[in-house]
C-alpha cells in the first residue's frame, strides 16, 4: 500500500457523505446500497463511521458526471478512466466522481459500482494506489464476484496504518 504525500487523513472518526445525483443505469436504492456497502468495506476494519446526509455539505460528496465536470480533470467517455476521488481535505477533499459514460451495474457486467466506489473511497480516506494486483487499491479495474468480495490484507494494512484497527 501507499499513502499520499504528506499522509493526509481525516482527523475525526465520524464522516458524512452525500450522494449529489444518481446514475440512470441503476435504481437509486441500488446506488445507495452500493455506496453504503463500499464505505462499510473500510469501516469494518477501522474505527471510522459514515453517516449519510441528504442536504448541505458533507465530507465525501459523491456525484456522477460525464466529460468536463468543473474540477479540471474531465472524464474521457466510455472505457479508460471510470472514476476519481480526492485525498482527505477541505473543498474537493474526499469527494468521489464517477464517469456517467460508463455502464454502472450491481453485478459482473459493465462496471460494478460497489467495487469502483470502494476503491475511490480508499482515496477519499487517504490511500494511494497499490502495486499489488490483488489489492482493491490497484488502479486497474477487474471483474470480480461481488458475493465473495474480501478486502485484501494490503488494503487492510494501509487503512489501519492511517486510522488504526476497528474498535470491536
Amino acid at each position: 500500500f501507499s499513502t499520499f504525500a504528506g499522509e493526509p487523513k481525516w482527523a475525526k472518526q465520524v464522516l458524512t457523505y452525500r450522494i449529489l445525483n444518481y446514475t440512470p443505469d441503476l435504481r437509486p436504492t441500488h446506488v445507495n446500497a452500493a455506496i453504503k456497502k463500499a464505505l462499510s468495506v473500510w469501516s469494518s476494519v477501522t474505527p471510522l463511521k459514515f453517516i449519510k446526509k441528504d442536504r448541505g455539505d458533507a465530507d465525501i460528496m459523491i456525484s456522477f458526471a460525464a466529460r468536463g465536470h468543473d474540477d479540471f480533470i474531465p472524464f474521457d467517455g466510455p472505457g479508460g478512466s471510470v472514476a476519481h476521488a480526492y485525498a482527505p481535505g477541505k473543498g474537493f477533499g474526499g469527494d468521489a466522481h464517477f464517469d456517467e459514460d460508463e455502464t454502472w451495474t450491481k453485478n459482473t457486467e459493465g462496471t460494478n459500482l460497489f467495487y469502483v466506489a470502494a476503491h475511490e473511497f480508499g482515496h477519499s480516506l487517504g490511500l494511494f494506489h497499490s502495486k499489488d494486483p490483488n489489492a482493491l487499491m490497484y488502479p486497474v479495474y477487474r471483474k470480480f464476484d461481488p458475493s465473495v468480495f474480501r478486502l485484501h490484507q494490503d488494503d487492510i494494512n494501509g487503512i489501519q496504518y492511517l486510522y488504526g484497527p476497528s474498535d470491536t
Partner: protein
C-alpha cells in the same frame, strides 16, 4: 508494411495519452521512434515497473493490453 506501422503509431498514441494522464508525461516534440533514453521511454519504464511488467521501455503486448483496460482516473504518480 503499412498495416504494422499504423498499428504501432496507434499504440504509441494510446500509451502517450496514458502516460500524460496517469504519469505526468509532457510531450516535447518527440517522434514515435523508440529511443532508449527518451523521456517517453523512461515514463514507459516507470509505468511497467509500477505494474510489475517486464521493464523494457518498449510498447510490448502486455503494456498495450494494460493501457486499454478500465482504471481509476487518479494518476499513479501523485505529487
Amino acid at each position: 508494411f503499412p498495416a504494422d506501422t499504423r498499428q504501432k503509431k496507434e499504440g504509441m498514441g494510446l500509451i502517450q495519452k496514458y502516460l500524460e494522464n496517469y504519469y505526468g508525461f509532457k510531450k516535447d516534440g518527440e517522434s514515435f521512434i523508440w529511443k532508449s533514453n527518451s523521456p517517453m521511454t523512461k515514463k514507459i519504464k516507470e509505468m511497467q515497473e509500477f505494474f510489475g511488467l517486464e521493464v523494457s521501455g518498449k510498447l510490448d503486448s502486455g503494456t498495450l493490453d494494460l493501457v486499454q483496460k478500465r482504471r481509476c482516473g487518479f494518476p499513479d504518480v501523485a505529487g
